[in-house]
Symmetry: C2
Subunit: 342 residues, 2 copies
């Protein structure tokens, strides 16, 4: 049986309240008693029951972490473990635990979050809000601190950390433009994922800045290259005489799929078409050609988000903020400058 505070009290010949205070180094306890109590506690291998403690103090050293679709569905992509590393890094330093929401088939993300919030287990919530879905009505006066990674549709009066994805979208297409590309396709758009709508906005801005007419056909919504319909679409696009010479692709796995697909069409990367990608995964790094890819720094995303959340819980931050995490391009072999044609 695990020792309780009462056991310690009895053996140290003091009351439970004294034990509690002694263990917390409350100045009202005499040196002598403090030492005696602490010795007994150690002898008995006493550790306070966190549940009981939380119950009365109304705090907990647990934060809930919610991945889209639960760990099961998200962990397949290296982005998520990387942010988890970041989260864990600061949680560990601050002696917090992370409670993972394990969404299942029978549970929508919203329900899973709600359950976490309602359980009373957690003192705050970290949402990987990949989905462009309404989480706003989700925490109704719960007064439970929430920070999101990836910005929500209604970014104001919420706490979140994110990259500046419209900047990233602009940056990548400008990178291509600078290398002489004019016919640039945007691959992987989905209105459901706000990252992609942001990056698309940046893409369109860059095009506009360079007075290039946007071809709406060329923002291709396929998320996975396997999708037959999209492949037909892509085939039509890439077999046309004025085919794109470059593509900005939303994700390394997608890019790898694309490269394979283009190869089946007889098109080589980067000789025939350049690809600039996102997420800088190991697979992309070792793919042939090695992908030029923007590192969105998921680790730092995690670090920053957890710091923010813990600061909110601690009361050090009280008004909705968002913080932007810088991205950076890893230049490798999938982009090639176009020979200047004149």
């Amino acid at each position: 049986m695990k020792a309780t505070i009462k056991d310690v009290a009895r053996i140290a010949q003091v009351s439970p309240s004294t034990v509690s205070r002694a263990l917390h180094n409350n100045p009202r306890i005499s040196e002598e008693v403090r030492h005696r109590v602490q010795q007994v506690a150690k002898d008995l291998d006493f550790h306070p029951n966190q549940m009981a403690r939380s119950l009365v103090s109304r705090k907990t050293r647990i934060v809930g972490v919610m991945f889209p679709g639960g760990a099961v569905n998200s962990m397949g992509h290296p982005f998520y473990p990387a942010v988890l590393q970041g989260l864990g890094s600061v949680a560990g330093k601050r002696r917090y635990h992370m409670l993972l929401s394990t969404g299942s088939e029978n549970l929508s993300d919203e329900e899973a979050v709600r359950e976490l919030a309602d359980s009373g287990y957690v003192g705050g919530l970290l949402l990987l809000a990949a989905q462009n879905s309404p989480m706003e009505d989700l925490l109704p006066s719960q007064s439970l601190p929430v920070v999101e990674i990836g910005h929500p549709p209604d970014s104001d009066n919420r706490y979140y950390v994110d990259n500046d994805n419209v900047a990233a979208g602009r940056f990548t297409t400008e990178y291509l433009l600078e290398r002489g590309h004019r016919r640039i396709l945007f691959l992987g758009y989905s209105s459901r994922f706000i990252v992609t709508v942001d990056r698309r906005a940046g893409y369109e801005q860059a095009l506009k800045d360079h007075a290039i007419k946007l071809n709406p056909q060329w923002v291709v919504p396929s998320r996975f290259i396997e999708n037959t319909t999209d492949n037909e679409l892509l085939e039509r696009i890439f077999m046309a005489p004025d085919r794109p010479t470059a593509v900005v692709s939303m994700d390394d796995p997608l890019s790898i799929g694309l490269i394979g697909f283009l190869s089946s069409l007889g098109l080589r990367v980067p000789e025939d078409v350049s690809v600039i990608s996102f997420n800088n995964t190991p697979a992309g790094q070792y793919a042939a050609p090695a992908l030029t890819s923007v590192d969105v720094d998921p680790f730092l995303l995690g670090v920053t988000a957890m710091q923010l959340l813990l600061d909110i819980i601690k009361g050090k931050v009280t008004t909705p903020t968002h913080v932007e995490v810088p991205f950076r391009l890893m230049e490798r072999d999938s982009v090639m400058a176009l020979p200047s044609e004149l």
Copy 2:
């Protein structure tokens, strides 16, 4: 403010105990009252405080999950997120939450586990016991269910799930032997990691079965190819006239490093040396050449482990067992049969 059971009781005009029973569909409550209470509970958006509940019932729907070095250090390798997916998959179905141990610099793995166990938060523990370290004295009569992934040094009277790694070691070297290789190097051995000592045992068995003399120099302990000393060693080995024609390598990232290193020596994979690898990562899949690698099925490892743990907690399993998860080889391009020389 969140509604408590007392609020529900007051409004439904019954006692808290009746509310509790009504909500749990206790047969001793009349239909009429049950409905009234449930309606009020819904109206008030009442959710029982899990802390309070756990406190009295002495159960919790949380299991602790401990990764070596905490999430921070382990999540970098795709193996771990994959087992987390497996764990989460069954935890979700059984409505359990996972509490991640977030080890930090100031906290050894042992301490982290102990803290998890002592906290009272968790009803069981899942240990990713990669390290060949003594966890046995760790849970002294705690009577807290523990299952480990990867088997501990003293495998008996513990619960664990694992691959049969000596079989895997034998299997991989036999795969090479069948393809005519006789000079086979074992890369990535470390006495600290029991996986590698098991696989090495299998490797030696296979060699012995084929009456091939073991060259102890050829089990190379480097864990990372970057290590200079080891690279010198490897260089000596691979520059010798009777150099290995094949290597069984303990991990895809290691194999990728090896391939690069060999290439710097002017040796190509698989033409000059074949490589059979472990862990079947995406990076290995897209590496050049694509790695022939054994998939240890981390997802299933996770699924199985969580099932076992939950069954123990539920009292359905009461005596130490271990279950073996099958591995399978993904054949790709890094192994080549030796031309039969006669």
